[in-house]
């Protein structure tokens, strides 16, 4: 295999192979040690991870650009396939939504009147930081995503992350230029939620599948499939009322929730910061928030 002159390789070969074997074992042990050190939350490992991610952001930012256009192309091809059916479906949906619009306007007026009667003080609007997902959702072993905004843009650990459709996850790592969001489907994700219709509290626990489990519901909870689930705000880390998903299965494998977020098209996400109320004016009221959520 070697392209070196024979005389040299005759001398160097045994030494080289010994060195290589030693290097191999050393690297193996290092990888193992790193794994254990990571488990022990060593600051240096954490800092290195953040620094590497920050350094790679520009590269990933460029490389991840074509993904969106590939998705769009595939989507438009599959749409072309059934244009007529899609039109019919949208017409029916538009009719239904128009009826809902009437209902919603009525309820909004009623809500406003009741809020006036009860002197209800609405919670401050959050500051919103938007970013683009520059990594995929991680695969079967971990579910997290890198986003191209970081502490420079005001992202902090623990911020709630949403996409257009609903709750995505929580920020677990922040660098200067990036942040990592632990998705609600990850093994390590535990989100306090409440079943919206029955107000039964529970914990949404991920297991790396696309259908996280709903745990620790009260004994007498009267839930059924189709019930929407929202964040409860319990514990004070996350805001309450962010739509999470709907209950799709109640059975032997536990109560499963289908998240509203389309993981296959997770492109832009928003970080909701409720504590920046002091800086951001609340639209419509002319008041600045107090800076606390409770």
């Amino acid at each position: 295999m070697s392209r070196r002159p024979v005389s040299f390789s005759k001398v160097a070969q045994p030494v080289r192979s010994l060195m290589q074997r030693f290097a191999f074992s050393a690297l193996f042990v290092t990888a193992f040690a790193l794994m254990l050190m990571g488990k022990a939350d060593i600051v240096l490992v954490e800092r290195t991870r953040v620094a590497v991610n920050d350094a790679m952001v520009p590269v990933l930012d460029i490389l991840s650009q074509p993904a969106a256009s590939i998705t769009k192309t595939i989507d438009s091809v599959s749409e072309l396939h059934d244009l007529h059916g899609e039109l019919e479906r949208l017409k029916a949906e538009n009719k239904r939504l128009r009826q809902w619009h009437h209902v919603a306007t009525g309820l909004e007026a009623e809500n406003r009147a009741l809020r006036g009667l009860a002197h209800f003080v609405p919670p401050p609007d959050p500051a919103i930081i938007s970013g683009r997902a520059i990594s995929n959702t991680g695969g079967p072993f971990v579910r997290s995503v890198l986003v191209n905004v970081g502490s420079r843009d005001g992202v902090r650990r623990g911020l709630a992350t949403v996409s257009g459709a609903g709750f995505v996850g929580v920020v677990v790592e922040v660098g200067e230029l990036h942040s990592r969001v632990l998705l609600i489907t990850d093994l390590n994700s535990q989100i306090p939620v409440v079943v919206q219709t029955t107000r039964d509290p529970g914990v949404l626990s991920g297991d790396n599948s696309n259908r996280p489990r709903l745990l620790f519901l009260p004994q007498n909870a009267k839930i059924s499939t189709g019930n929407p689930v929202v964040t409860s705000g319990e514990g004070g880390v996350l805001p309450a009322g962010i739509p999470v998903g709907v209950i799709t299965a109640i059975g032997d494998s536990g109560i499963r929730v289908k998240p509203f977020v389309d993981w296959e098209r997770l492109e832009y996400v928003q970080f909701l910061d409720y504590r920046l109320g002091g800086v951001v004016k609340i639209p419509g009221t002319g008041l600045a928030g107090t800076g606390t959520r409770e």
């Binding site: 690297l27 794994m35 695969g139």
Partner: protein
């Protein structure tokens, strides 16, 4: 003299081609590829690259480079640090010890070899993740990713053969 330098540069550039392809594929493993059906679970191209180069040009895949690429991928994907580095080193080691069984044989042997070695790699990854998280990780997606990785190997190998012939020699 000048042509000598150029020749060295040329040789050097050819020698690092396997590293470059592996690194690029490691990044491809990380970025969203935008194909809806496999966006959750995409094939692990890095594993294919390391297997191919370890079989056909073992002198050009230094363990240190494999370790660093694995580490980079761990950090970018949010895996426990060192998990993928360990698994890739295992793939390299296993392939290097068995490579004579694939060299000069029909491609099917290499494919079969890759299927066996990557199965062991996926099992190790699963086991280590279970131990590190102290939870049983669902196996459906692991099987799916393994299947996808094995099925995509011929396509990747076709590309590696082209690179091998024209850019490495």
């Amino acid at each position: 003299m000048k042509s000598d330098v150029l020749q060295h540069l040329d040789l050097w550039a050819r020698a690092i081609m396997p590293t470059i392809t592996t690194l690029l594929l490691a990044l491809l493993d990380v970025i969203p590829i935008g194909v809806p059906a496999i966006s959750d679970v995409s094939p692990l191209f890095t594993m294919m690259a390391i297997f191919y180069w370890a079989v056909y040009r073992p002198d050009l895949v230094p363990p240190f480079v494999v370790f660093l690429i694995g580490l980079l991928q761990d950090i970018l994907l949010g895996n426990p640090t060192g998990l993928f580095a360990l698994v890739l080193l295992g793939v390299l080691g296993a392939t290097l010890s068995q490579r004579m069984a694939f060299v000069g044989k029909p491609f099917v042997f290499a494919w079969l070899g890759f299927a066996v070695i990557s199965a062991a790699a996926f099992f190790t990854m699963w086991l280590l993740t279970c131990v590190l998280t102290t939870q049983i990780v669902l196996t459906t997606d692991v099987f799916f990713q393994y299947g996808l990785t094995t099925c995509c190997f011929p396509v990747a190998a076709w590309l590696f053969v082209r690179i091998h012939r024209h850019l490495v020699r």
